[in-house]
Amino acid sequence: MVLEKTFGSKLFDVLLVVFLGGTALLCVLPLWYTLSVSLSENAAASAGRVGLWPVGFNLSAYQEIMGDSKFFNSFWISIQRVALGASLNFVIILLLGYPLSKNAAVLPFRNVFMWILVFTMLFNGGLIPWYQTIKSLGLINNIWALVLGHSVPVFSVILVINYFRNLPKELEEAALVDGAGPWQMLINIFMPVAVPVLATVTLFSIVYHWNEFFNGLVLMSNADMYPLQTYIQQLVVIIDAQTMTAEQIQKMSELSNQTLNAAKIFIAMMPVLVIYPFLQRFFISGITLGSVKE
């Protein structure tokens, strides 16, 4: 980077740091609050007395989670789901994105395929037929239902297509001169160059598979197969007392433990927070690779 020394530019830098730092602080607040609740006494938390600092500091919520085998079981399911789902998405996105970045002269009916993709992104038949389809494929209560259930991430495919299309033409021509076939071209030339966009869409896949809870609820018939967010969702649902039996209410009253729930939410966020900075490095390495090719 080239440095400038003008006063205006310096002032701008200072303001920038203040503004961006302030915005960042604003975004930490909810997580900080969740952490603060998780470290507080339950009575204080549910009375709304906990603010940005824990009231009656204790670690009992975290101790309890350590002994909760269901939590860790779901954690493990989620990890499997993310690993399978993100890998599968990566392969499919690449395999769809690369050929579709070619024009219709190279790939006849390219536009037909493209419009089918866009169409499926916008239209769906609703929950019931979707569920029936997955059931008839025999995937209910199977981790593959979670991996495959949402179908192709079309939006990510479009991002990748556009990235490939914006690459210089010389890249392909040079490879052709070297006698590379279509598969070598994809794997050896285009994939390495597309690191920034592939890292981005992979992040999206990871985040989707980690955070998605509804499919877990609908497609898994056994609570032992719930991914983590589905497990957590069971804990934070709003209780509608009017339609419950007194006995259910009694059970709920023992269940509602705000500090414990906050601790679980906090822990559940951790993996993505750890992974994100790691993927961020790839965005940066994308620059380096991008400049080498020139």
Partner: protein, 300 residues
């Protein structure tokens, strides 16, 4: 082009590449799509999709015959369009500002932090928002320092849509910044160096290098976000609204939900979904052809 000549034989390999994706798409997306027929039925689960009674456009007509359908549609579009615009511009501005930051450690920290709210669900965030905007909450405390008397924000129908849009931007801008940042890394740094040697100011560099470099991304995101003109955000509004703000905050999805509370209106819900899809599709297709015709630019 010679290039095309050489690669023409590659087509069958390309089709082979497309095959797994399209099999997946067919099984999990195209096959279930036949469920759209429910929108035209008085769906009876006992009879199923094939034997339920066909009622034509009845479900669609019903949506427009309501006394308050005008306000519900208006609220939905008003909130959704504001969200689309804000969620395009704020992340873009933020990404550009972040790009100007020269302390790379700080840059990475901020980038990591701002996307945090994205991971909290509205069930959790709404509780925090209600606290922040409560009568004794921090917003009112700050306002009172400027001599403004405290107000019950969530009882104010006039403010409700703006609180909804503002909080949505706050939750999502960090995450939405990611695509812009990825696009920014694609710009060749040597261009900036050359510009600096030519003595271009920051603003000039922004205008002539940065913006053109990510224009594709901006246009792409704008067009695709047109698909959201009827998505005002059910989960968020459902967790925050109350009867006092029905006049400005009740949207199609919350309305369908309340109707569904009484009896499961599969047909109505599917019809609603279909209407949204059709409108999105028309808008996206139109912008695709307009861009192709007037700017000679293909979006996808």
């Amino acid at each position: 082009m010679t290039c095309n000549m050489k690669t023409r034989g590659y087509a069958k390999h390309y089709y082979l590449m497309l095959l797994p994706g399209f099999i997946w798409l067919t099984l999990f997306s195209i096959v279930p799509m036949f469920g759209i027929v429910i929108a035209f039925q008085d769906f009876n689960p006992g009879l199923g999709m094939l034997r339920s009674e066909w009622i034509g456009l009845e479900n669609f007509k019903y949506m427009f015959t309501l006394n308050d359908s005008k306000s519900i549609f208006f609220n939905t579009i008003f909130i959704a369009v504001m969200k689309i615009v804000a969620n395009l511009i704020v992340p873009l501005v933020f990404a550009l500002l972040l790009n100007e930051l020269r302390i790379s450690v700080l840059k990475r920290w901020i980038q990591t932090i701002v996307y945090l709210p994205h991971f909290l669900s509205w069930v959790i965030l709404s509780g925090i928002l209600l606290d922040i905007f409560s009568f004794n909450g921090p917003i009112n405390a700050v306002l009172s320092m400027f001599g403004v008397s405290p107000t019950l924000f969530f009882a104010r129908a006039d403010l409700f849509p703006f609180i909804i849009v503002g909080s949505d931007v706050w939750k999502e801008f960090g995450f939405n910044t990611i695509i812009y940042l990825a696009a920014l890394t694609g710009i060749n740094p040597s261009l900036y160096e050359a510009a600096a040697i030519d003595g271009a100011s920051r603003l000039q560099r922004l205008r002539s290098i940065t913006l053109p470099g990510i224009m594709t991304t901006i246009i792409l995101l704008s067009v695709l976000s047109l698909g959201n003109v009827l998505n005002a955000g059910f989960e968020q509004i459902f967790n925050l609204y109350n009867p006092l703000v029905y006049s400005t905050g009740d949207i199609i999805d919350t309305w369908v939900y309340r109707t569904g509370l009484l009896n499961l209106q599969y047909g109505l819900a599917t019809a609603m979904g279909l209407l949204k899809s059709v409108i999105s599709f028309v808008l996206i297709a139109a912008s695709y052809f307009l861009a192709a015709k007037f700017a000679n630019y293909r979006i996808f």
